[in-house]
Amino acid sequence: MSFVHRIANLRSRTRLEQDIDVELQSHIEMRVEDNLRAGMSTAEARRNALLRFGNRTSVKENIVAIDSALSAERLQRDFRYAVRQFARNPLFAATVISTIALGIGATIGVFSIVHSVLLRPLPYKNSDRLVVAYGNLRKRNATDLPFSSPDFLDLRNGAKSCVFGKPALSRILGLFPGGFAATTSG
């Protein structure tokens, strides 16, 4: 992004310098034309024009400094103008300020929810390996039953070799006799 910015600045700066060059060059050319009309030779006319003009490079640098230094001042002037307009038209100012405030507020609200619910890791050790376990009664077609702590103990004792991580647990379906199955979802 800043790269694009830099290119844009570069372009506006070279345009500024180009304008100055064209302006100074056209001055010199007009002096040359007048000199030719006054009867000077071509070489003499140009020499005289450059001599009368003085140090062109320093003049140009001078102008560039003036033009770019004052654009900062213009920014300050714009700011003061905005403040003055707001003071003169408080209703408009209030509308603008509350619009921006609501926009910022809504954005912060949504982001803080997303941050705490989705982005921030849960405050447990190895939080990336936590799972949620549900019970299923397959024969009665009942799913998503709450998983009680005795169920959990049974599951842990009966499956000593199993790793309590997502990939292992999600395959424990049909582990319990009598149609009781434990499904997990991460």
Binding site: I20, V22, L24, H27, M30, V59, I66, R74
Partner: protein, 108 residues
């Protein structure tokens, strides 16, 4: 020939020229200053441009690109309302200066 003393009053000369002659490019301003002063005043021509750009940034004059009679692209400067006020002020203070200097020269 008042080459060295001209720098301070260059703003005044350029503003006055624009108020009398209407929109002009830098070269036109230089020519006017030379002919109107009977060649007594000669500006180092390049030094006029920083002054013009500074005055434009101050809002005393405005500029516009246009073609000259000989079809050359040139930047034309025009006096603004603020520039007119500035011209009056500068003219007044210059006359004060001349009066003061003259009074000292005549002091006996």
């Amino acid at each position: 020939m008042a080459r060295n003393d001209l720098q301070g009053s260059l703003d005044l000369l350029a503003l006055k020229t624009l108020s009398q002659r209407g929109p002009l490019h830098g070269y036109g301003i230089v020519l006017h200053i030379q002919t109107a002063s009977d060649e007594l005043l000669s500006v180092e021509e390049g030094s006029l441009y920083p002054a013009l750009h500074r005055m434009e940034q101050s809002g005393w004059i405005s500029s516009e690109w246009a073609l000259t009679e000989t079809n050359r692209k040139a930047k034309y400067y025009k006096l603004t309302a603020a520039g007119r006020k500035e011209l009056e002020k500068a003219q007044e203070s210059f006359e004060q200066l001349v009066k003061g200097v003259r009074a000292i020269l005549r002091y006996a």
